[in-house]
Symmetry: C2
Subunit: 393 residues, 2 copies
């Protein structure tokens, strides 16, 4: 696969993490990027989001600076000033403008960010920029993630080959609306800005908003898309012949990253795709899938490889959707029918084998309408408790 | 305390639980009771609830038959027939009517109930009736509860002393709307039926609907109130001089039982009262309190005695209530201010001591309005995972 045009990466340790692991990352583009970001819907916004929300509007991003180890959330005016200092110093350092830098943070909430640790290390950070250092960047944005998450794709546009790269971090606190999740989508393909925004929004909706690790939504979640257009193709818009292929490629990168995030959920041992069919609206099917995905009882049963469909059907009913009829519900574990018209069938040994797999599919068919949707979720086990009961102390 | 007039109890083992523990309970009144029940809002209703919902309308209850070990939920027409057989046999056995018996079940979902184990043991069940056997009854309705739950109260009405007794079971799957929770409130005080219904509804709303163990709502939850009126007082209505005292007494019994249920939550080691003040509506304050009470990250922090207020403020914001302003939020742990206007204060050692207590109070003040409400919640630790990952297998 060819290298993406114009983007370089860097990732170093600047002392924010006690562990000496990388905790400061940088993406730089040689050309100005059009950009679009989707932010958390949490009403408590971290300082970098308050600042970056304004910056993104200028559509003139060259650089993205990300620190892990401290979320810079609930840090008041001092937190805002820390972001501003980061941007000002970066602009000085590069002879660029304050409008050209986007900032993200991830880590603990409510502790003031020691911004000097970031700015005093700009020399090392900027001098390490290289297209190959994307791995360092991916590591630098990790918190409780067990592995870094990078997905790449290449698309032919006429005689040229465009690149799309996604880098993400996730782990705990993942929920629809992308809790404690950072994702950067970079491309050298030239886009019409409206189409770029539309692609990012749609693809976030059908991927990152379909995952749940623990039903939480963080103060820092961000998906940022950057296109520097260095491929020199005709601007991609909705009517371009390659539009659908490119959209699918973005969606696929987001899907693969979100799947990785669920699999890497704090203490997670398996991943489950919950498909709800036969609803009278998309919204209803989603509500039910989400209710199961967030059910602690379901997630602990998953951990124990227990085919406890009673917890599934109970989570269906607790949505209180009026037309749900227990006598018409079918449930499949893998491809095996385990509940027919609300009644449990005799469970074969095969079911226990399916439940012990690392990836499980469960289908709930309400048989009331034509709408369907899914959620990806994981199990909750002892590791989750261990990690989360001792996070700050 | 005097004995309640006219009520007797029984609790035996009939073979539904493998453990040989009591699993079949009976309450009998010597006089016909006026009655009112609040049922789960889950759209998947267990068979006894489908039947008992009709029976309660006749307002002629003499007996309540409760089994544990099997929820008789998702059991289709066979499940309904099992409840009908229980009622028919009980009516035959006592020379009463089918309208006179209320049935509840609790336990595993989706396995057919072996109703003969119940009806074949009616001899022993009915012959064991005694006012002192309330403890046996309370044990017979337990599932994963660690202890039985009985609360009593006595109220002077003129020269007479009226009795009110509450018996409940809870443990896992507890959530507003009373998941997997059974409660029986019995009194010999004579009531106007409308007032009785109103008292039960109001008291359920301000107690059982304010607790959360794991955010689940079951298929079987029931609060049943029975009044046999044997005290012979003038019917209590809204205008009776004792009305408020009696209401408070019912509410207090429900509060004490719901507190016990949270404390006895599966694997729970502590209880936390979350008070949300300064909201612009009662509904908003409740939504926020509930969101914190159900937050897995908060519940694991509670388990680890970790004063992680970042998770609290994040759960406040994720309700997406528009007027939430992070710069005006105060948070108290116990009586100690830990967040002032959205900014964390230096935590004293005292905070860690408070977090290690068995009962903790946390106050969130939005400073935006005059409404306030609370939720009782517990922590989630290793025991919860252990119990719930291996419930059916």
């Amino acid at each position: 696969m060819k290298n993406i045009l114009g983007f370089k990466f860097s990732g170093i340790n600047c002392g924010l993490k006690k562990s000496k692991k990388r905790d400061l990352g940088l993406i730089m583009s040689s050309e100005k990027c059009i950009s679009h970001a989707v932010f958390t819907k949490n009403k408590i916004l971290a300082a970098p989001l308050i600042v970056s929300k304004k910056i993104i509007k200028n559509n003139e991003i060259y650089g993205v600076i990300v620190n892990s180890g401290n979320a810079n959330a609930c840090t008041g005016i001092k937190g805002i000033k820390a972001v501003e200092k980061t941007i000002n110093k970066a602009a000085d350092f590069t002879n660029l403008n304050k409008k050209n830098f986007f900032v993200s943070s991830t880590g603990i909430i409510g502790i003031q960010l020691d911004v000097n640790k970031i700015t005093n290390n700009f020399d090392r950070l900027f001098n390490n920029l290289h297209v190959k250092n994307i791995k360092d960047f991916a590591e630098a944005i990790m918190t409780t993630d067990k592995y870094s998450k990078i997905k790449k794709s290449e698309i032919s546009i006429g005689t040229k080959k465009g690149s799309i790269i996604g880098v993400a971090k996730g782990a705990g606190m993942i929920h629809p609306n992308m809790a404690t999740m950072l994702c950067y989508l970079l491309t050298d393909i030239k886009f019409d800005i409206k189409t770029f925004r539309n692609f990012i929004n749609r693809a976030v909706d059908s991927t990152f908003n379909c995952i749940s690790v623990d039903g939480e939504m963080s103060t820092n979640d961000t998906v940022l898309g950057l296109s520097n257009g260095l491929l020199g193709n005709n601007k991609i818009n909705n009517k371009s012949p390659q539009a659908n292929k490119i959209y699918k490629s973005i969606e696929n990168i987001f899907y693969e990253l979100s799947r990785d995030i669920v699999l890497d959920g704090e203490g997670s041992t398996k991943i489950c795709k919950i498909i709800v069919k036969g609803a009278k609206s998309f919204k209803d099917s989603k509500k039910i899938a989400r209710n199961i995905a967030n059910s602690l009882l379901f997630k602990t049963a998953l951990f124990g490889s227990d085919p406890n469909w009673g917890r599934i059907i109970s989570a269906v009913g607790s949505t209180q959707i009026k037309y749900i009829d227990q006598n018409s519900i079918d449930i499949y574990i893998g491809d095996k029918l385990v509940v027919k018209n609300g009644l449990g069938l005799k469970l074969s040994k095969k079911i226990n084998q399916i439940m012990r797999k690392k990836e499980i599919k469960i289908i709930i068919d309400l048989k009331k309408g034509k709408y369907e949707s899914f959620m990806l979720t994981n199990d909750i086990g002892h590791e989750y408790i261990k990690i989360n009961s001792l996070y700050t102390t």
